[in-house]
Symmetry: C3
Amino acid sequence: MNNFFKIKNRMLKAMAASVLLGACGSVFSADDRPNIIVILADDLGYADVGFNNSPDIKTPNLDVLAEKGVKMTSAYAAHAFCGPSRAGLMAGRYPHKFGSQYNLPTSNLSGGLGIPAEETYFSTELQNAGYFTGLIGKWHLGEKAEFHPNNRGFDEFYGFLNGGHHYFPQDFEKRYNEQKARGMNHTIFHYLRPLEHNGKEVKVTQYLTDELSTQATQFIEKADKDNDPFFLFLSYNAPHTPLEATEEDMAQFPHIKDKKRKIYAGMVYALDRGVGQVVETLKKTGQYENTLIVFFSDNGGKPPAGGNNAPLRGRKGDTLEGGFRVPMFFHWPEKIKGGQTYPHIVSALDLYPSFLSLAKVESKKAKKLDGVNVMPAILANKNARPGQSIFAMRHRYGYSDVAIRKDNYKALLFGKNAKWALYDVHNDPAESKDLSKKHPVLLRELVEEGEIWSWQHAEPKWFHIPKEGFDWRELSMPRFHETFSIDGVEQDGGSVTH
Amino acid sequence: MNNFFKIKNRMLKAMAASVLLGACGSVFSADDRPNIIVILADDLGYADVGFNNSPDIKTPNLDVLAEKGVKMTSAYAAHAFCGPSRAGLMAGRYPHKFGSQYNLPTSNLSGGLGIPAEETYFSTELQNAGYFTGLIGKWHLGEKAEFHPNNRGFDEFYGFLNGGHHYFPQDFEKRYNEQKARGMNHTIFHYLRPLEHNGKEVKVTQYLTDELSTQATQFIEKADKDNDPFFLFLSYNAPHTPLEATEEDMAQFPHIKDKKRKIYAGMVYALDRGVGQVVETLKKTGQYENTLIVFFSDNGGKPPAGGNNAPLRGRKGDTLEGGFRVPMFFHWPEKIKGGQTYPHIVSALDLYPSFLSLAKVESKKAKKLDGVNVMPAILANKNARPGQSIFAMRHRYGYSDVAIRKDNYKALLFGKNAKWALYDVHNDPAESKDLSKKHPVLLRELVEEGEIWSWQHAEPKWFHIPKEGFDWRELSMPRFHETFSIDGVEQDGGSVTH
Amino acid sequence: MNNFFKIKNRMLKAMAASVLLGACGSVFSADDRPNIIVILADDLGYADVGFNNSPDIKTPNLDVLAEKGVKMTSAYAAHAFCGPSRAGLMAGRYPHKFGSQYNLPTSNLSGGLGIPAEETYFSTELQNAGYFTGLIGKWHLGEKAEFHPNNRGFDEFYGFLNGGHHYFPQDFEKRYNEQKARGMNHTIFHYLRPLEHNGKEVKVTQYLTDELSTQATQFIEKADKDNDPFFLFLSYNAPHTPLEATEEDMAQFPHIKDKKRKIYAGMVYALDRGVGQVVETLKKTGQYENTLIVFFSDNGGKPPAGGNNAPLRGRKGDTLEGGFRVPMFFHWPEKIKGGQTYPHIVSALDLYPSFLSLAKVESKKAKKLDGVNVMPAILANKNARPGQSIFAMRHRYGYSDVAIRKDNYKALLFGKNAKWALYDVHNDPAESKDLSKKHPVLLRELVEEGEIWSWQHAEPKWFHIPKEGFDWRELSMPRFHETFSIDGVEQDGGSVTH
């Protein structure tokens, strides 16, 4: 898109938005819709931020925002690991419903797979509604033109298309060039490849997290020059492996002895510094008051790679709380009263309808979203979905782990040949007391809801590695007749046939 | 839809229809296209109506219509059980071709599955052609907005979306309220849930069959006030289980000693009474002469639940005649001469093209229908499809039962490890004399046609219960190489490869 | 389509083309885009033409064209057997990507399966660009209206829809009529059925190859009367079985003693005679200079049916060179200098983009083609795809044969439990020296490319026979985790999870 077209396009979008809003003045009249920033950390554990009382990691900038905003203690990612979690976030639907239960294949670099275009992203809806939209950082939802951020709702994209990246440019550039010289072409490990800006290769000069933060501030400055509100998706790959931090950042944590944890802490600290720069830029450009910042992680932390999910059980990938309950806050000076803790369920799936509501657009197509607009409930500190469940499911080798959470309770199936358990995860976040014997009817109802949900799943469109696909077929997955069987619980009406 | 819009919409439809018909007078000029009523019974056996010589059940109103119309003795449902039978009826195509070979999942109450919108229903085509359309009773083709009768061609819907219902409102309301009080929410057995009118819950005050009949008469009266022809789909759930009849109706059958049969008989009697009310209303409103009534059952009767398919072998679910050959008549005073018996094949799949022909619309899209317009053949009492086959297939645990009927003959595969048999079901409806040795070439040809047909099947989009899906995959279904193998019969050209 | 409409349509197309071309004069101004003729042989072996030094078969007319044009020595069909090869040719994409890896079912005569309409054919693009388009001969891509040549880009179709045909009309007519008299209807072996012209049955009076040649000359004469360029797809079924040649043609090969080879040679000779007639007609109508003729075979020869692929290993169906490397030449007096040999890779997949370039149209839709426009490279005798691979894969019983060719090298997996091998097929076309030990990194890279390619495959939409479908499911195909495993080769980055 050349610049002329871009400007024209922007004017048209503004006009469209003004029509949508019923504005009768100039198309350049002030637009009071808030800016929206999503800051997503990668594999950040529940206990790895100051505002969640980390015993060893400090995140001063995040903490200030959390303190001045509302901190969510029961926030959930859309999935317990990366690709599907992001697919769910952007599409506003459980990734299982559109065959995206698995990460894209490792060897997909030019493989042409990605989230189907039928699954509209909220970025596209915000863009259509006149927002200036940008993605900085990690994508992981497909690389071919049709899946590329620039064709999926982002005016600006600076980052990398795959699932992760090395952090030190002097290092990854060198390895990339060596492999290229060996003629490896597209089979070079993608964590080493150059970053891009709207499809054009760029040269990174800083530690990657700092580079992304710098780009984010530049995006905000650029957005300031327009009269449009903006949406920024600042998608850090930190503190995802590879574990690589600067000496300076690690030096902030002299009390940490464990080598991995020390690097991890340094990585988080760099991310936090970036958040500080973002806030600074918002203030400098006068956009601080009317910008909603939503911070969270794409899934739980991974202890062997430095993360800590205490007091939650489990880790990234699990349907235990540690797998997909994540640190989160909403910060918006103009509307959200600070110093609050929001104890009710928030799902990453809720961001789609919530942002649409803020942008004053209705999803025109009859797209059935799985989340709810949580903004009114958050502003009132009420449960946004009383009596409504959220779900998690991760397929394993021949079986599936499942979680169904409703209000304070959670039905859990975890592990091969496991039995269904029930926890009051509001009061017992560590999932230590199984209440299945105490509330069998509730458990049965939750499991039944999970089964109903499972009927809406589509066959996986891909697997992370070919072996998983073979196993899926050989073991006649998804075997939901086993997943959702509860011994000894009578099913009302089950014997009727039609 | 508010009323104003509805009226506008109706006028537009009338105008569209007049353009379609090439009418040059007022758009309110008389429309001589017939009204169409489909009265569908649920699980009604071949021998359970007077006009098919039931030894114990009387159906005086149905019998009069059958007598004054044409009685079909070889009429077939589109499938041997409910959901697929109705899907085939509405879509005019074998349900196997669009992945709807199974009933929707039991636990689908809010599950969001249903017959894909790409499968246009004839109700939509009639509606588009200016017909005023109504569904009274059972749906069973999906509940979400996109699958709902009001979005699938019906201006009016009064009934229930699922596969069946209890009959006594005082009883089902009580049980529903009790379960609701227990907090069961949407997991309440759907046979107990309130009925609805165009999406709004209604309170039923009569025995359900009578309620549906009353609603049908009201629809006809309402339709009378328009100048449009109407299409009414009166979709009784009777005499499907649960077996519940009024004492008065059962008292009509003092000679029946078997408890179940007695209730069943009472249920059929109530249905018959409703048919009488419908006819009465047609006469009263002057629409009797130009209304085509098609009566039939969605599949064969179920003897353990009171049904009787004599002299046919087998029952609901089977590819034996008792599974899907059903009682049927066409009644239309203005065009159809009474007192006739039509011995040729009629399939529920034929209704789509036949009704379109009566409504003088051509299916614009290149929708390939599986039935034929049988109206001219019925009026002439000729075979509507000489030399053309109809098919039935029901998947079982690791194999499939199949029927292929052409003219007088039927190839049958029934039972695990069964061999193909051939019957002259015209002269031997009880399928007692296997003619496979006598007419091996004919059998081979029929089986070959079945195989060709099977290549057009789609993978099932759902299963009734998860276990069926697991079995399907584990047993590598559909295993059609076994289904369509005939030992010792040479296949011309089979060895050529391309 | 009636004639009036056809003429109007043609004028509209010409106008559209002129707009497209930016022409500002009369719509009937000269169009200097070349005519295009594809002459496709069926199962013709690499060594079965004079220009590839056949020791026993003479093809004087083909040889003259090859001599005056450019002869390709590394030309590949899109697949190693018929249906998918043609699907790939027409769609410009590997048939695996749209579920067409198998031939259409044998018993599909009225089965309604075919290549999905979403897969645009280049014939449609040429037609839309104002070309007069014709198919003479074999189709094999579906029979129902939506798949029929006349709905897939061909103004004219004279031939048969299935995968092959008998050659002597007096013989096939007789057998057809006999079977029809037996009431076999549509189960009559399709090799015997009447040919058609745009949907209407025609009576063939000559040996089939001659008939097709005659029709081709008539098409060219008809095209000459228009001002449009034309595209002719002359799709001979010769020398595919059944082995049937005229005595006169066989008499040309007194030196051949083997019965089958003699018939086969006669069949090829008849085809060559047809090519001569085509050239004659081009000359006579003054279109010889500006017509591009591309000649090739849809896959390798089948020695048990008379073919010879020397010096290549393997035969039709194999991923060995003999399976899909085929004789090919491009002939175009106006642009291509004669007497050349082109040693670089050309794939049948390249024809789509190459022809589009010649017709000066851009594929409007974002259709991702798998081939490249080879015209500039051929005119310059340069490698059209340096460093880019082409692929072949054939599924067998529980495993897959694969070939990945890039530049001079080819990675090969052939046979059950085989190991990956590497050949320099430019210098060692017989695949005699395995270089896998010598160039392990190259082999690994090729295999990795194959794996990436495999992720883009779709589940087969059909199988040639039902048994293949059962095997596919029972053996949990495609088992690509086995296909693309190379023992002992480390995968960079393989252990990272996201």
